[in-house]
């Protein structure tokens, strides 16, 4: 069998010198445009005394200021759009669990590039027009489901927008009856499916699954092997934050040696998050992306907060784009739980509003039969003397759980502990992550 052919060989196997010319052309036109039409960039460039005419090569990108997640949140809802709203044909948002959601607008051309980028990573993963693709991701507001959906249609596969609204059991029934060959979900949802196979009494033999495409949360090699073995699939890692585009920024090829980053649409930098200086070759750093084809929501030097490594060596698959390692961590203390991110400080805020408990707490993340679990341990305040009735304690526990649900979207297990038992914990001790990997 020969080497599988990329979706768009002309772009994905472009010579590096041609790519560099393409990138500088696209970067310059993007910068000229954002300076003219996005107040944020005009102010930021002027404040940094940036002369756009001096941006003559890709290294000069370093003269430009960064864009952060906070900048995007502040621009809620439309301040970062580079075109009038009438030119926007689609709007997605991030979950907004960490504050104001980020609203991302796409023009007709943006959707086209996105579709192509997603089609590239699906093709690289081995998806063809013969496949039945089941997408078990959120469709409401989020970009993930739509991104894969459009890409899979472009490849010509039969797409089932199963979404996450259906129960796992129904998901499995669909998978069996519709002869699904490709599952697209978060890794933890895949484990959830594994764990539920017995419950629904569907044997793995009855499923036609052969491939899985996963993204949206951090996962590890052991977890990956577990999913692969138990579902008997080949899995592929994907990367694509919504604010940058959504699924399609990067994805693995069949060789599974890192995620090819679509460099004809994005310029990659890797920086030390502390000094903001570029890291040396092969070192870990924060991924910084500049979009060079987006019309609606262009980003210049966006700090993704994701820690990874970049390998510029050509991949034996023939694609010439650099490869990023699977995301290894975050620059902030963002916790990814069941595909949704939150900060411990948010839990803190919620708890601060409740009397009869102290502000000290601990987050315990674990995994039960493949399903991610969360437990919040909360200290009872020592100022309340008569907190001994079971009923009172139970009410308090439920109250805490309900409050936290507003942040996490799921009700966590809440354990109330003795006063003064948690207050000695340093911030790192506040989060215990027992999830494998």
């Amino acid at each position: 069998m020969g080497q599988p052919i990329p979706y768009n060989p002309k772009c994905e196997m472009i010579a590096r010198d041609e790519l560099e010319q393409l990138q500088i052309e696209r970067l310059q036109s993007t910068l000229n445009r954002v300076y003219r039409s996005v107040a944020f960039y005009r102010t930021a460039f002027d404040a940094h005394k940036v002369n756009l005419e001096r941006i003559k090569d890709l290294r000069a990108l370093r003269e430009l200021p960064f864009t952060t997640k906070q900048d995007l949140q502040k621009s809620y809802p439309y301040d970062m759009f580079a075109v009038p709203l009438r030119d926007i044909v689609r709007i997605h948002t991030t979950s907004g669990t960490t504050g104001q959601p980020i609203v991302v607008g796409y023009t007709h051309n943006d959707l086209r590039s996105w579709r192509e980028c997603a089609a590239r990573l699906l093709t690289a993963a081995g998806v063809t027009e013969h496949d039945v693709v089941q997408i078990a991701l959120h469709y409401s507001l989020f970009a993930d489901g739509f991104g894969f959906h459009q890409g899979a249609e472009r490849v010509g596969a039969s797409v089932i927008p199963a979404s996450l609204a259906t129960s796992v059991a129904k998901q499995i029934i669909i998978m069996r009856d519709f002869k699904t060959t490709v599952l697209i979900s978060t890794p933890s949802h895949a484990l959830n499916i594994v764990a539920s196979l017995d419950e629904v009494q569907v044997h793995r033999e009855r499923l036609h699954l052969r491939l899985g495409l996963f993204g949206g949360e951090r996962w590890s090699d052991p977890l990956r092997r577990q999913v692969e073995e138990q579902l008997r699939i080949i899995s592929t890692d994907t990367y694509g934050p919504t604010e940058v585009m959504g699924p399609g920024v990067a994805g693995e090829c069949h060789l599974h040696q890192g995620l090819h980053l679509n460099e004809d649409h994005f310029i990659v930098e890797l920086i030390d998050p502390k000094t903001a200086e570029p890291v040396g070759a092969g070192e870990e750093g924060e991924l910084v992306l500049t979009t060079i084809t987006k019309e609606g929501f262009p980003l210049v030097r966006y700090q993704t907060g994701d820690i990874t490594r970049i390998s510029p060596d050509p991949c034996p698959c023939g694609r010439t784009f650099v490869r990023m390692a699977r995301v290894m961590g975050r620059t902030d203390d963002l916790i990814l739980f069941q595909g949704v991110g939150f900060f411990p400080s948010q839990i803190e805020e919620v708890l601060a509003g409740i009397d009869s408990i102290s502000p000290f707490f601990q987050i315990v993340l674990d995994q039960d039969r493949g399903v991610e679990t969360i437990e919040i341990r909360v200290e009872i305040s020592d100022k309340i003397p008569f907190l001994d009735e079971v009923k009172t304690i139970e009410t308090l526990r439920l109250q805490v759980a309900k409050r936290i649900k507003t942040v996490l979207d799921v009700e966590p297990k809440v354990t109330l502990v003795e006063p003064k038992s948690l207050r000695a914990l340093d911030p790192p001790g506040r989060v215990i992550d027992r999830r494998p990997g």
């Binding site: 500088i24 052309e25 036109s29 000229n32 003559k56 075109v83 030119d87 007709h108 051309n109």
Partner: protein
């Protein structure tokens, strides 16, 4: 085939091009569209060596050509059809064409010259009919064909055209663009500069939008046609395409 990087040029104190980067791959038709005074003509003149670049690079077939005299650039195979034709109106059509082969006078013999003439006549039948007529008596469209024919006589590999539809009757614009399609099919690489964005994007593979000496948008011709900005500014309000994809 052609690579332009950070090109700056102007006239006296006037800066017209403020760092233009673009490229043309072999066999491609690339259109540069923009309003009057955006720097389109200056761009082609600077690439052709008629105007000196203040800074930046022009690479043709992996060889730097910025700073080369215009005639050497033509001999390299990069030829410009200037805006407003600039034909020699007191010479005959045939004489105009032969002058186009000026740069080949030392290397090529009469036979190959006649062969080239024959190819041009093949492309533009009207020029054969009028070959003995004074060029000044031709219509605007015929003069444009003559200007293109003359450029082809230098056997270019890259043909640069400055506003081929300017001052030409709408019906003749169609003819000229048909010719461009034919030239493209024959394998010629073309860089086209146009105010008539609709005509240019209809034949082009890719395009760049130039505004006050800077590129502000680039993409495939299809993408540019679908860009609301381009539609409003260059294609006319009523422009609509029914997307089949």
């Amino acid at each position: 085939m052609l690579k332009v990087l950070n090109l700056e040029a102007g006239y006296g104190p006037l800066r017209v091009l403020k760092g233009i980067s673009l490229h043309v791959s072999p066999g491609e038709v690339v259109a540069v569209i923009g309003a009057n005074g955006a720097g389109k003509t200056t761009l082609l003149k600077t690439i052709a060596g008629i105007l000196k670049a203040r800074s930046g690079e022009v690479e043709f077939d992996k060889r730097k050509i910025h700073g080369d005299p215009a005639e050497r650039i033509v001999r390299q195979g990069c030829c410009l059809v200037p805006e407003g034709r600039h034909i020699f109106s007191t010479l005959t059509v045939r004489e105009n064409l032969v002058l186009g082969a000026f740069c080949r006078r030392r290397t090529d013999n009469g036979a190959s010259l006649n062969q080239s003439l024959e190819q041009v006549y093949e492309l533009f039948g009207i020029l054969r009919e009028r070959s003995r007529q004074l060029a000044g008596t031709l219509s605007g469209g015929q003069q444009q064909m003559l200007a293109i024919g003359r450029a082809l006589m230098s056997k270019p590999r890259l043909l640069m055209m400055d506003e081929p539809s300017l001052g030409v009757a709408p019906l003749v614009v169609k003819d000229i663009y048909k010719t461009i399609v034919n030239l493209k099919r024959s394998g010629l690489t073309i860089l086209l500069v146009e105010q008539n964005a609709r005509a240019a994007l209809a034949v082009a593979d890719r395009g760049y939008v130039i505004e006050t000496g800077q590129i502000v948008l680039q993409g495939t011709a299809r993408q540019l046609c679908d860009s609301p900005e381009v539609q409003r500014a260059y294609l006319g309000k009523e422009y609509r395409t029914i997307d089949e994809d």
